[in-house]
Amino acid sequence: MKTAELVANPARPTSLFPEGGKRLLIYVVYDPRGDVEEYIPYALERFRPHCTHILAISNGALTDSGRERLAPVVDQLIERENRGFDIWGYKTGLDAMADRISEFDEVLLVNDTWFGPVRPFGPLFERMERRPLHFWGMTDHMRVEPHPFTQTGYLPYHLQSYWVAVRRDMIESEEWKAYWRDLPEMNSYSDAVVKHEGVFTEHFTDLGFSGEVAFPTLTDKIENHAVLYAEQLLDAGCPTLKRRPFFQWPPYLDALAVIGRWTLDAVQRYGYPVEFVYQDLARNVQPKVVNADAAMLNVLPDTVVGYDSSSPLRTLVIAHIFYTEMTDEILARADHLPGHYDLIVTTSDQERARQVEEVIARRSARGATAVRVVPSNDGRDQSAFLIGCREELLSDDYDLVVKIHSKKTPQDGYNVGNHFRKQQFDNLLRTDGYAANVVALFQREPGLGLAFPPMIHLGYPTMGHAWWANKPAFVARCAELGIRVPVDDTSPLAPYGSMYFARPEALRALVEHEWRYEDFSGEYDDGGLAHVLERMPAYAAGERGFHTRTIVNKDYFASSYTALDFNFDQMSMTLPDNTMTQIELLKRMGFIERGSLRDFISVFSRMYRPALEPRALAWHDRMARVLRGARRTIAVPTRLGRR
């Protein structure tokens, strides 16, 4: 389709894509792990009928498995240093093909920032091949003034650089060669937009080359359509789905009412394997961001919906029971699971083990049972699970493991402890129907690694703070365990309370490590290993490509949502504009502490004179000391006088 900005005047003569013409695909991959995600070979395979030669450029070295994944679907692979973003990847490809470039009627410059084809390539290529033009792109972006990156001048109307096709006439032109020869260095994302994506289209249109766009901007508002209108683009037939709508900062997408979940509905509706999307997001995006952007929460009913009793999952329940008076309750919870399950109870000593065994003997078992005394209570349920049941977790005997324990939290007060316990058990194993619905989630989604209740917040000051002191140790442990999933900024997505449903395979990064009870010794405190590991399952699962869902029952949902809603409303009262702006403002102000003079000096410095903060605080502290001294000197004679 033509847009006004793509019409060259005067225009050079154009040509169609010839019958049986040849097309070169230069596809740039960037994978920080070098593994190549599964959605990439899927896409490349579907390019094959339309491309004569497929050249993949990897920005950064690949692993063996990455190479293996690409080998069957590309004709040629170049690994290069990760510099200059996808644009310099294109340049590398063009340079590498310089000798053979005249063989091709069209060159496609495409990167890996999209999932697809969600809608088929066929009709797209068929349509575009019949158009007389020099270059075409998948989607476009309207002119923006002032330029959002430089704040001066303007960002021209442009075809988005993740997909641009160029015909022979243009490729053979001197202007084309000059453009790539003189391509400036690019050291940031902003450079890639300012120096290439934003100017490419205007540059060549001005030179008389005619362009077209396959899926022009859908509305009359200036927005990034490929990101914000992904679903509507799919409906229009667009094969590509940008990854961006699933990893941008949730308050940003929220402010623009972009609902990622509906886009995923469309992805499924059009038959694209949605597991590729989940897998990529699980590995490469902060889990809590995915949870919000794709609304990965399931409110499950108590009536069975979609559980398939004909394909039961081999289930293992691992229960750490320290408070043995809770044994009956815990076993009754486990009995909500559908069908058979094996049970391992871990506990701290022989006496407790005997008490548990008595209770088990009274009840009818639904599979094999074992009671295990762990050699140390250091690390409590965490160590009992990771060390005490390592063999079972690493075996391939189970599809699903349910981790529960005798939670009491006596230190937080009755109400708080009681609520925390219910928040865990009622959102995991509330009724037979509810538990079957949780299992059904795992039946439906082979890529689902974990399901657990959302972050506890009633009675706990977790909102905004749930890392507590654990983040540095967490980051260090992740590096040690080879977990490279990006870490959430504010609070991690985690099974607070350490009870969850998991696929053992998804926990492998955690379980394979040979933990020792000594690792868990010391205070059972924030920053300690047990609390670090409590936060890790979703990240460990993500590393293996498994995604996480949070699950709730309707009653908890009602209490949780209404409380969040009320608190949020109260908290926003004195803040301007929409939530995104409010958060940005508060974050710029930084930590407010108690609102003392010292705190406000910090806030002021952070906002207006960041360099000044240490000096200003030192000045404040000096003055405060002087004042205190002065007060004391005045106070002494007064007291004496009174006497």
Binding site: R261, N291, P461, A558, Y561, N567, D569, S572, R594, F604
Partner: protein, 631 residues
Amino acid sequence: MSDPSCADLVHRRHAIYAVTSAGPGLPADAARMISAIREAGITVTVVHGSLTERAELDNLADRLVDAPTDDFSPLWYVAALASIELADDDELVLTGDGVLGPIGPMDVLDVGGGTWDAWSLVENRNGSRESFAMQGFPALAKPWMWTSFRGTLVRSGIVIDYLDAATAGDVASAEFRAMTVMAAHGWRVGYVFPAAEFPSNDPALLNAVLLLDAGCPFVDKAVFRSYPPFLDRMATVGREIVEQITERGYPSKTLWDGLVRTTPPKALNTNAGMLEVLDGHATQHDLSRPMSIAVIARVTWLDGLGELLRRVDHLPGPVDLFVTTTEGMSAAKIERALEAWSQGRGGRCEVRVTPASHGRDMADFFVGCRDVLLSDHYDLVVKLHSRKARRKTVNLARYFRRYQLENLLDSATYARNLLGMFQREPELGLVFPPMMHIGYATMGHGWAGLRDHAVELCEELGITVPLDHVSPLAPYGGMWVARPAALRVLAEHPWRFGDYSRRKEKKFGQLAHLQERLVVPAAAHCGYYSRTVLSAEHAAISHTALEFKADELFSTTRGYPVEQIQLLHRAGFIGHGGPVALLRMYVRINHPKLAKMLRPFYHLAFRSFGVLAASRRYVLSRVGSSGRERV
């Protein structure tokens, strides 16, 4: 002072029951409680403030006394005491509509006179409760739970002295300190449920369920009326308490009647967790009890009509459809579309042309379809609309449409589940989705500056339900399902299209938005409560978004949400965080008295700044861009 060994059995028992609820009739919970007390052989004197219909009370109570003041204070009991003759061995109980009950048997209240001269049912070892005055939840005096005095004590004058003194001092804590004071005077005092037996200092507020388990027949309404973030901090889950109360046979209808008129609606919605995620699978709706339904829809964006009708199709059985639109051409098109749609359906279809007004769907509803609302033909009225929002982005408009329509009429099963709620709960007045927060800057600003107008209009309409402080519970977006009876106060008022015009802004603000924010209190005034609903899908979208945003918003302050909120409220408006705003926040937090003194100057400065900025803009616009360079 009496000698314990001579203490006889108490002969007669008197109770003074304080009714603080205002408005038309006596709330069902009070009626139930008064009857139960009398059935227990206790004489009941009711002291009441501003009930307008006393007939029911006259029949119920042994004696009726008018309260000396508008708001409750211990003086109410003093006033009632004047008409009660007590013998030494008689017992006097101070109670009132601050509690729900009886839930289960009342035997526990038969404490023999031998042990104590005075006793309270539940101890509050703190002697007081936290006050959240700035948030609209000050610690106020409220009727006592159940405190009993021996006649001797009352006759000695000490009780009246205490009540008088309390009225002049710390009224809110009078109930909690009474026993300590009596004990200090040498009387034998006690608690049926001492705090030591419970895991908190204030079991009535924090351990309602444990108290019920222990046999206490009352639940302090404070568990549903306190400042929600405080209850949140204490992990008091109101929805579970409601479940426990009703499971023990206390009628839910009575429970809500006892709360709905006297609790700010959004606070009640939060404290009792009155949000339902409705199922798209199972139905809890009885087809054998059909409800007659009117759908009132304003359609000015004809492209949306098809979807609207598909949604209406989800309602079981025939419905009457009233479509309003602002001009004849559209009306004709709609009429044709409806003709095709209504083939073979039982209900009536009517298109009405209404004048284009700023009141949009609200004016068409309350003025254009007033006859429908007041007709008595309908059990339920469903309010929908379809309009083109030119300024909104496609995403915003779509989210709005889907949020509103799907949360009311997602599918046939969903719609039946929603109607099922009305079948089961006769006092349920309104159902609508919670306040939107995705794409809209509603949070913290739900009144949209209309609260003062709301207070005025409530006064004019006689609505006494307390209004929420920050954002009201309201069907933002203007779509809901309601019982016409719940809308009566608003519907009966003779609104005109002209009331929605710019000329009336001084009086109403924007009347359409004002009405939208007052349907819930207006329903509550007649004893109808509201519930919010979400489909499972919208629940997931909305909760994950809210959770993420809350995590970010609460990340720069310390402590529990209740503390974080209080800190920001004390600091006042942040503006855009400019140096002046920071200074003002510092002063407000650390030197509140100074802040108060400075306030007039600040306002003056703020206004002058506004005037200066405006004149600067004016001058610049006159001088033009060349002038701007000079400036």
